[in-house]
Symmetry: C2
Subunit: 356 residues, 2 copies
């Protein structure tokens, strides 16, 4: 049976990218060698790294002021690299969920942290508004999309200090005005490609301003200076990213996928709002993520959640169980998820309602 992959991450990869990646694992460009067994400094692999960075630059219209690099360790390693590189005295953070909280925890090891606002009071089911970003902060950190709680900051907000955004789970889902950010970063394993690499788009002039010594590999400047080849990267992951980004470019790029993502999210939220069994966990439509759609069963039907999960699974849905901190269901509908999979989920919801 056809599987509909709603995994939150690592998550669905386009067939095109899977096939190119498998081909490169066996025999890269008819070289007789696997992409796994060539030097990261070979011209073949340097070209892969360079093209991957160039595609990110092209797809997001990254200005010359910003470098595009790949580092190790996913977003989580960046949680400590960011304050290591940027926190001189005091940093400001917006707390919109588990990942924000983790970023805040690491920053506190390096200096003073001001949490300007938090939506923790309502289990992170909204995006805080009307907060003030302190003008003396070294930077202001946000999580643009909250994978677990299904909220998203969809605008490029204005910040008087460098704006640092963990965009792990909505990068490439919509156009961004990169010039408004000091740094946009995240793990690759949603819309960029497979896990194993973190992308970093950083405004070059915000670096080099802290006094503390920084271990070489944790210093963003190292990776800029070495074109992301300071040490051996996760070559296979980078190659998978290249193939995924090629797919996105062939499809028409970020503006095109954004329209598709809006359509995909709309029909699913519409069904959740219509179907008497379900309700969205994020009440404010403007705050609802177009990447992770979180929903539960209404009080009246709450005890049917396990049954619906079993039914949806029987219909080919994969990965729709909600995160334990929210419960219910989560449909992660990243770039590569076809609208047919969302229609299949909607049909399962309708059938379950009709057969109740």
């Amino acid at each position: 049976m056809k599987k509909h992959n709603f995994n939150a991450g690592p998550s669905i990869i386009p067939e095109y990218a899977k096939e190119l990646t498998a081909q490169g694992v066996l025999n890269l460009n008819n070289s007789g060698l696997s992409v796994m067994e060539i030097s990261h400094r070979s011209k073949e692999f340097s070209a892969i790294m360079e093209e991957t960075a160039s595609l990110i630059r092209e797809l997001l219209s990254v200005p010359e002021s910003h470098a595009v690099i790949f580092v190790h360790g996913g977003a989580s390693l960046n949680f400590c690299m960011i304050p290591y590189n940027l926190l001189q005295t005091r940093a400001a953070y917006l707390d919109t969920g588990s990942w924000s909280s983790k970023a805040i925890k690491e920053a506190k090891l390096f200096g003073e942290v001001e949490v300007v606002a938090s939506s923790k009071d309502k289990n992170y089911n909204y995006i805080p508004k009307n907060y003030t970003i302190p003008r003396d902060a070294d930077y202001f950190h946000i999580t643009t999309n909250n994978t677990i709680f299904g909220t998203e900051i969809k605008e490029d907000i204005n910040s008087p200090v460098p704006l640092i955004a963990d965009a792990s789970s909505d990068i490439m889902s919509r156009p961004m005005d990169i010039s408004k950010y000091g740094m946009v970063y995240g793990g690759a394993q949603k819309n960029i490609g497979p896990a194993g690499v973190a992308f970093v788009i950083v405004k070059k002039d915000i670096l080099g301003k802290v006094d503390r010594p920084i271990p070489t590999i944790l210093n963003y400047q190292t990776h800029i200076d070495n074109a992301s080849l300071f040490n051996t990267p996760s070559c296979l992951s980078v190659f998978g990213c290249l193939n995924t980004l090629k797919w996105l470019k062939n499809l028409g790029g970020v503006e095109k996928i954004h329209k598709m993502n809006i359509d995909k999210a709309k029909i699913l939220y519409d069904e959740i709002d219509r179907n008497k069994l379900f309700q969205a966990t994020v009440p404010n439509e403007a705050d609802r993520s177009i990447m992770n759609v979180t929903f539960v069963m209404t009080e009246e039907y709450k005890e049917k959640e396990a049954d619906f999960l079993a039914y949806a699974t029987s219909q080919g849905m994969v990965g729709i169980k909600g995160h334990r901190s929210v419960g219910g269901f989560r449909a992660s509908i990243y770039n590569a998820l076809p609208i047919e999979s969302i229609k299949a989920l909607i049909q399962a919801m309708k059938e379950f309602e009709a057969n109740l």
Copy 2:
């Protein structure tokens, strides 16, 4: 033409592992999903992670006192993680090459470093002997195999303080008495599998003794407590490691491959010693690496190096150009390199000599 892959790293991967990896990229265990697009916390991926760690444990007879974990960033990230986790006051390092030097550089950010001996005086062409390991050092760090300079510490040395070994390029090439080490670590991309993951075998009771706060992801204990799933690992790399380690186990394990490696190294060094055109860069046989065979042309034939490189390349040799700090040639003859490839290189050397 058949390629003979002498790359220093990332380096040759067994065909068996390439095929299993490509299959998993397309469709893991007939699940209909790629290994790239399932949650790292799914039972399918947890099983991959667990089996990979178990195979390392089994192949190296790792005692219960030691944990086997995977971390991000290759050996280079460990260069700063080691002092972060272990350097309270003073650490001792043996300087046997570029990688040792890099490890020393990072340790100096965290405390006092005593370099107990160095072979830098002779361009690292030997392993220092007769040094004293200070009994008050927090640990003693060595690089067991020096990929660039072709030297290797082949014995499990006795140390009065925790012995920390970067074994990136000779792990799994020979049996090791892990009980004699506080930690053995390295990048995977030689004998463990593809790049993108670092293995760490650490004696649990050496951790938790430093006063400094450690960023969560840089704390080895985090990865022990979370079975290497604290955050998303480089899933595809781990899967490639599993397939490579399965190949090694099927072949007969580390004792078997050790015999094969000794045979492989012996015939190549014998030819270098016999052939009037060539000489090994490491004069002392006991110090010669069985993984990276470094050699140059003798003074008399020095100007023929480019010609030999061209000839060997025409015969299918890949990656035999020596590192710029040594010059000449380097044949990296890791576990997966078949003896046929070494015989092909030897034949090219003989033919070049005969045709001169």
